[in-house]
Symmetry: C2
C-alpha cells in the first residue's frame, strides 16, 4: 500500500472519554483527517483548556487530531455544524443517547444537509430497544453483559476486568462500521447511519463461558485463571521464581511440547495425563507438575524456553514491563515521548498495520480550540469575520 488507506477522508470526531476518541484515533492513524470537536469547556478528559493533556488517556487517544470548538447548545453553533457537515465524510459521536438530536443536529438533521454523510453513534445500549435511552459506561456495561459474572474466583465477588474493554471494543467496532460504510459509499454513493452498542459488542467475547453455560444448562462457578468449563489443562497462571507465567495447551501437540520444555518425558506415560479429558480430570495434579517447573525459573526464562519449544506461554507482566516491552518498541507500537504536561510517557501507534504505509507520527494534542482558524477558515472556507462573529456569539 503506497499510502495510508483513509487518506482523503475527513471526520468530525465528537468523541468523549474512551470509546469515540479511540475510534477517532484509529481513523487518524489510518490516514484520515480527524477533527476533534469540543464544547468551549473542553472534553471531559482534557481538564484545563490550555493543557495539551490533563490526563495520559487524553494524550494517548487524541494524537494526530485537529482540535476545534463548537457549542451545539447555541443556535450559531447548530447552524455552523449544519454548514460544515456538508464538507466532511463522517461524523462520529458517543454522547448519551439523543444528545445531538435534542439540539436539532442529530443524524436526521445532518443527513438532510448532506445525504452522503456517514453518521456513526456508539452508545451503551444502542438506539433501538427498551433500554435505548439508558446511559452506560465501561463499568456498568461490564456488569450488564456478564463480563463481571465470569471474572474472578468462585469465592470472590463479581469482578471487573481491568481494561476498559466495553469502551475499547465499542471504539474498535465503531471504526470497522465506519470504514465499511466508506467502502459502501465508494461503490454506491450512499451515506449511512451507524448504530453500535457496547452491550452488543461484548456478547461474542463470552464464547467460552457461554459454551460452558449452554452445555451445563446453568452457569458454572467462576474459574479464576482456569478454563471456563474446566475442560482444558494445562490452562492456568503458574508461579515462577519472580512472578507468574500463563501456559495453555489446547492440542495434544502443545502438551507434548510442554513436556519437552520441562524435560519431563515420563509425564507422557502417565495414564492420568493420557489425553485432554484425562488431564482436565486431574487438573490439580497436573498444575502442580507444571508449577514445579515454572517456580524453579524466572518468568522470562520460562517464557524463552517454552517458546523455543513452541509452547504457548507468556510472563504475567507488570505495567512497568509492558511500557518497556521490547516487542512493542521494536514494532513501533510504543514510543517514549517527553510530554510538556505529563512528563516522560509511552504513547502508542495504531494496531492496524499495512505493509508499505508508514503510520503518522505521534503529535501532542493541540490546546482547546487551537485549530479553529486553520479548520474553519482554511478547510471549511469561512471568512475571518464570520469566525470572529461566531466567537463573539459563543458559538465556537
Amino acid at each position: 500500500m503506497s499510502a495510508l488507506p483513509l487518506e482523503g477522508v475527513t471526520v468530525l470526531d465528537f468523541g468523549q472519554v474512551y470509546n469515540g476518541p479511540y475510534c477517532g484515533f484509529l481513523l487518524a492513524q489510518a490516514g484520515a483527517r480527524v477533527i476533534k470537536v469540543e464544547s468551549p469547556q473542553g472534553e471531559t478528559l482534557r481538564g484545563r483548556a490550555r493543557a495539551t493533556a490533563a490526563s495520559y488517556p487524553f494524550a494517548l487517544l487524541n494524537t494526530g487530531k485537529a482540535c476545534i470548538t463548537l457549542d451545539i447548545k447555541t443556535p450559531g453553533g447548530q447552524a455552523l455544524l449544519k454548514r460544515v457537515v456538508r464538507q466532511v465524510d463522517v461524523v462520529l459521536e458517543n454522547f448519551a443517547p439523543g444528545t445531538l438530536a435534542r439540539y436539532g443536529v442529530g443524524a436526521d438533521a445532518l443527513r438532510a444537509e448532506h445525504p452522503g454523510l456517514i453518521y456513526a453513534a456508539s452508545t451503551g445500549f444502542g438506539t433501538t430497544g427498551p433500554y435505548r435511552a439508558y446511559r452506560g459506561m465501561d463499568i456498568t456495561l461490564q456488569a450488564m453483559t456478564g463480563v463481571m459474572s465470569i471474572t474472578g474466583d468462585a469465592d470472590s465477588p463479581p469482578t471487573k476486568a481491568g481494561p476498559a474493554l466495553a469502551d475499547f471494543m465499542g471504539g474498535a467496532h465503531l471504526f470497522g462500521a465506519i470504514v465499511a460504510a466508506l467502502y459502501r459509499r465508494s461503490v454506491s454513493g450512499e451515506g449511512a447511519m451507524i448504530d453500535v452498542s457496547m452491550q452488543d459488542c461484548l456478547f461474542p467475547a463470552l464464547s467460552t463461558a457461554l459454551g460452558a453455560y449452554f452445555m451445563a444448562g446453568h452457569q458454572p462457578p467462576r474459574t479464576g485463571n482456569r478454563h471456563a468449563a474446566l475442560s482444558a489443562a494445562p490452562y492456568n497462571v503458574y508461579r515462577a521464581a519472580d512472578g507468574h507465567v500463563a501456559i495453555i495447551c489446547i492440542r495434544e501437540g502443545h502438551w507434548r511440547n510442554l513436556v519437552a520444555a520441562m524435560g519431563r518425558p515420563e509425564l507422557l506415560d502417565r495414564p492420568e495425563f493420557a489425553d485432554m479429558a484425562a488431564r482436565a480430570r486431574h487438573m490439580d495434579a497436573l498444575d502442580a507438575e507444571v508449577e514445579r517447573w515454572t517456580a524453579s525459573l524466572p518468568k522470562h526464562e520460562v517464557f524463552r524456553i517454552a517458546q523455543a519449544h513452541d509452547v504457548i506461554c507468556a510472563p504475567v507482566q507488570s505495567l512497568d514491563e509492558v511500557v518497556n516491552d521490547p516487542q512493542l518498541h521494536a514494532r513501533g507500537t510504543l514510543e517514549w515521548v517527553e510530554h510538556p504536561d505529563l512528563g516522560r510517557v509511552a504513547l502508542c501507534h495504531s494496531p492496524l498495520r499495512f505493509a508499505g504505509a508508514e503510520l503518522p507520527p505521534l503529535s501532542e494534542v493541540p490546546y482547546l480550540g487551537a485549530d479553529n482558524r486553520a479548520i474553519y477558515c482554511g478547510v471549511f472556507g469561512l471568512s475571518e469575520s464570520e469566525l470572529e462573529a461566531l466567537e463573539a456569539d459563543g458559538a465556537v
Copy 2:
C-alpha cells in the same frame, strides 16, 4: 444504506478458534461472501466432521459462511489455493506465525498470483520484532499485556479477565483493517498486506491504569471494582437485595442525579462529599451510603430507578440473564435457535448496524467440506472431474 456494505466482496477465511473466525463473522454479517477453509481434519473447534457444531462458539462464530476443505500441506492443495486466490478479494488467517509461508502459500506467494489481494494475518505478537515467531493465545496475551496485572483485588493473584478479550479485540481490529484496505483498493486499486498483533490491540485499553501508573511513577495495587487510580467515587459494584449493581459518577451532575435517585438530598451538603476529590478521599464512607440504598432493593429495581434519574448504573447480570436480556433480544442481537447438535441456544448477530440494511439470517454451519462442489465448481469454475481428482489426491 440499501444493501449491506460488503456485498460483492469474497473472502477466504482460514480463521481458527476465535480471533480469525470472529473477523470472518463480522465480514459475513456485513454482507461479504465468506468461505471458511478448513483442513480435511476440520478446524480445532469443529470436532466431529459430520457435526454442524461440536461447540457453541463454533456455531456462533461461523454462521453465514460456506465451508470448504483444502489441505495446504499437499502440493495439490497449494496449487489449488494459488489458483482460486485470483478470484477472491481477501484472505484472512490467524495461524501460528509463518504457517502458510512454510507451505509456499504465504502472503508473498499469494499476492504474486493476485496483486490486488488483501492478505490479512492476526497473530499474538505480529510479524515484525523479536517475538515475531512466538505463539500466543488469549490467556497468554492477557498475561503479557498487563491485563492480568490490573484485574482483581490488591490481595488476589493476577487474574484473567473472563472474556477472551485478546482474541475478540484482535478479530475486531482485523476486520477494521481489512475493510480499510478494501476502501483503499476502491480508490487506488492496490492490494494490501495487513499485520495485526493481539498484543498491540490490548495496550490502549489499559488507559486508566496506565494513567495511574505514569502519574504515580509506579504501578499502584490492584483496585478490584474501584477506579484504577482511586480518583473517582462513587465508582464500584454494590450489593443489592438479590445480587449486585455497578454505579459510576464521573461528573458532578452524575452525583447530584444519584443523590436524587437515592432520595438523600442532604448528602449534597456533606463537606466530605463536596467535590470529586473529596468524595474520592472519603470513598469508604461514600460507598457505604450508596450501598445502604442499593442493598434495600432488587438489582433491576435499582437499575430502573437510577436510569430514570440519568444515573449510570446497571445490574451485574448472570449468563442466564444475559442470554435472556430484553434489550439484546429487542435489538435482534440475540436469537433463540434450536440447534441439531447443541439444543436450544442463543446465537447472535453482528454489533455493526447500518440503518436500512437488514442483517443476514443466522444459519447453521455446514458440515466439513459441505460446500466443496458449490464453491470450487460453482464459484471458482473448476470442472467436476478436476474436483474429483483433487479429492482423490487428498488436496481437499
